[in-house]
């Protein structure tokens, strides 16, 4: 039985064409792009070509706007720290409560250093309140950092509009587009986004390569100094093989954009409706009318996510969960909490994230596998027994008192 990988928001498989393009850069093309000889020159050419590929994907006007970094997290850190350093007269950051930890943890740290951080809340469907956002914007705002699409629910934020609002008060705008690139039509030229983070391994390039898109004329302070690479904006010898891989992956992503929004979306919808049709007390989280085409996040009430994942894994199905147990923390996912998903459901959220490699046969196998797993765990769950008792009691509408003692454990 072949394993089924539905955790593509965590990371993706490298496209074989990406790997093939990279291989020579580990062997014969080992030169340092900065060197004044043929070894270096060929590598420099390949990097230039990759940069053009990323430019096409993002719709960037100039190749010099593409800065290669080591990952999305580095791009996020670079963007936010740079904005604060470059505008010492502004000391406020606006972000959202549902950002990736790459942004949230940095903001928490900056708060200790005296930076004022505003975190926009979201509604039950994970949407922002733009009036609240407008009210927070001020001449003290150094930067707004908001994700283009949420990694857990796929919910898409109105980034282009938010960027314009930020510019109205002279603040910089950064977006963590790690999940959106390749799935959402992005054309930075059309927007006034100043900075954008992209991560290679989310779009079938290898891990360890990212991009910071930096609009021309944006005031900038590098995170890493010590070399002229990336025009002095990100020192350190270029990760040539991975950059080449990302260049190929970017072009492939552009080619597959329509497929992602057509076939992948159809499979995602098939998966979601297939599961929800069979499992009671389950619902899709996030803004289901405006989200990434590949992501479905389903909350199963009264069961715990890690247990679901272990049973799925036993059948060769890989997904992820926002439960507390999978992360080793005590609270379920901050995204679920921010949306006000009750604890009864937040611990049982499972994210299925598809890719262009996902097949209909795979989706059908998952639709078949999930309901018995949830049923088995619910049979084990003390909350479910009470829930079931309540439901039968309601159905009967009988005058008899509660049939079983409600499950009320003695500590919270």
């Amino acid at each position: 039985m072949n394993p089924i990988y539905l955790d593509n928001n965590a990371t993706t498989a490298c496209d074989p064409a990406v790997v093939e393009a990279m291989l020579p850069f580990f062997t014969e093309q080992f030169g340092n792009a900065s060197s004044m000889h043929s070894f270096g020159n060929k590598v420099a050419q390949a990097i230039k070509d990759a940069r053009a590929g990323v430019c096409e994907l993002l719709g960037a006007e100039y190749e010099s706007e593409i800065v290669f970094t080591s990952c999305g997290t580095e791009s996020d850190s670079t963007a936010i720290l740079s904005a604060l350093k470059a505008q010492p007269e502004r000391n406020q950051v606006i972000t959202t409560a549902v950002e990736h930890p790459a942004v949230l943890a940095l903001c928490e740290y900056l708060e200790k250093e005296g930076v004022v951080v505003h975190r926009l809340g979201v509604d039950r469907k994970g949407r922002l309140d733009l009036d609240e956002y407008r009210a927070l914007l001020s001449p003290r705002t150094a930067i707004v950092s908001a994700m283009w699409a949420n990694n857990e629910t796929g919910t898409i934020f109105p980034i282009e509009e938010m960027a314009e609002m930020a510019h109205d008060v002279g603040a910089m705008f950064h977006t963590d587009a790690v999940q959106a690139v390749g799935k959402v039509d992005i054309d930075v030229r059309r927007t006034c986004i100043d900075m954008l983070s992209l991560s290679g391994h989310k779009l079938h390039a290898p891990k360890g390569i990212g991009v910071l898109y930096l609009r021309r004329n944006t005031r900038f302070r590098p995170l890493l100094r010590g070399g002229h690479q990336e025009r002095g904006r990100r020192a350190g010898t270029e990760n040539a093989a991975s950059i080449v891989g990302l260049g190929v992956a970017a072009r492939l992503a552009l080619e597959h954009m329509a497929y992602e929004n057509g076939e992948v979306k159809r499979l995602r919808d098939r998966l979601e409706s297939g599961i929800l049709a069979q499992v009671p007390c389950a619902f899709a989280t996030g803004d289901t009318t405006n989200r990434l085409p590949n992501t479905s996040n389903i909350a199963f009430e009264f069961v715990e996510g890690e247990a679901i994942l272990l049973l799925l894994n036993k059948q060769g199905i890989a997904a992820s969960s926002g439960s507390a147990c999978t992360s080793g923390s005590l609270e379920p996912s901050h995204v679920m909490r921010a949306m006000g998903i009750p604890y009864t459901a937040a611990h049982g959220t499972i994210r299925f994230s598809l890719s262009r490699y996902t097949t209909e046969a795979e989706v059908d196998r998952v639709i078949e596998a999930v309901p018995p797993i949830i049923a088995a765990l619910r049979d084990l769950s003390p909350y479910w027994a009470d829930q079931a008792a309540e439901r039968t009691a309601e159905k009967r509408a009988s005058t008899a008192g509660p049939s079983t003692a409600a499950f009320k454990p003695s500590f919270a």
Binding site: C325, H347, L380, Y383, W384
Partner: protein, 305 residues
């Protein structure tokens, strides 16, 4: 992915005694849906002998919570209630060939369910005094609430002290910053409380004297050795719980030489264990002593001679 033992996986995939128990006469409910873990333990107790004839569970929780519940029911079957109350969370973890540090609370929940069930049978009220914070030290599975409690109760101010009292931070050291944060928060709390004027006005020069341990009556050599022995004897059960042990080899003025045994031997935490014991000795004796491995004995004594 968690590093679950074969036994944990086996008990998760094939839980024993799952589901409601007809005519259970002792039921213990613990946990909460907020934490993502909850357990109902149901026992059938023979009223004559107080022996547990059957045990079932229902659990809402992760893989190790379900496995711990399953293990618990297997362990307690056939025990009397008094015997069952002796079951420790470590026993549940051992039964499963260990649990990852972040998951030890699952075994704690098992033990609590047992206490709750027995209390329920005996018609007693059972209150849980258990709080749980975020895991700070992953090497020794110490959470923030324990650290906060110990820091408050003992007025600790340094990471080193926290390590001596709780073991937290004694392993890979990567949580030291987290411990510092807790110390800073608690010290901020202290500072916001009004400071007694006497303390605030104390001239700086006398401060060191105030910090020195209160002078204790001088012990005779015999009393001193007895005190050292008693202190170490009190620590041994804790080490034995982790399958280690310690033995005193020689006491030579300020130097106390010991042999670490069992799991303590060659453990990467050896230094942390030694300094922990040393801190307790210093406290018990009211004087500075140094705890050294016996392997250093001949070298040091030879050097001194």
């Amino acid at each position: 992915m968690w590093d679950y033992s074969e036994k944990v996986q086996e008990h998760f995939f094939n839980p024993r005694n799952a589901g409601p128990l007809q005519d259970a006469n002792a039921v213990g409910d613990v946990g909460s849906i907020q934490c993502g873990d909850a357990l109902r333990l149901m026992l059938k107790v023979d009223p004559e002998s107080e022996r547990i004839l059957d045990a079932h569970f229902q659990t809402f929780g992760c893989g190790s919570a379900i496995a711990s519940s399953s293990a618990l029911t297997e362990i307690v079957k056939g025990l009397t209630l008094d015997e069952a109350l002796q079951v420790s969370n470590q026993q549940i973890a051992d039964y499963l060939d260990g649990l990852p540090p972040e998951k030890m609370h699952c075994s704690v929940m098992g033990r609590e369910a047992l206490q709750a069930a027995v209390a329920n049978y005996r018609g007693e009220a059972w209150a849980d005094d258990h709080t749980e914070g975020a895991m700070v030290c992953k090497c020794f599975a110490v959470d923030s609430s324990l650290i906060e409690e110990v820091v408050r109760a003992n007025g600790l101010t340094t990471v080193e002290q926290v390590t001596h009292y709780t073991k937290a931070g004694g392993g890979c050291c990567s949580c030291h910053e987290g411990i510092e944060d807790i110390l800073a928060d608690i010290s901020a709390e202290r500072c916001t409380a009004p400071m007694p004027p006497a303390l605030a006005e104390t001239p700086k020069e006398t401060a060191p004297a105030e910090c020195a341990p209160t002078p204790k009556p001088r012990l005779t050599n015999f009393q001193r050795m007895r005190r050292i022995e008693e202190t170490i004897e009190a620590i041994r059960p804790m080490l034995q719980r982790d399958h280690g042990d310690v033995e005193i080899v020689e006491i030579d003025s300020r130097n106390v030489y010991v042999n670490l045994q069992g799991a303590c031997q060659g453990c990467m935490m050896e230094q942390a264990t030694l300094s922990g014991i040393q801190a307790q000795l210093v406290e018990a004796l009211g004087e500075f002593v140094q705890l050294l491995p016996a392997s250093l004995m001949t070298k040091r004594q030879g050097g001194a001679a």
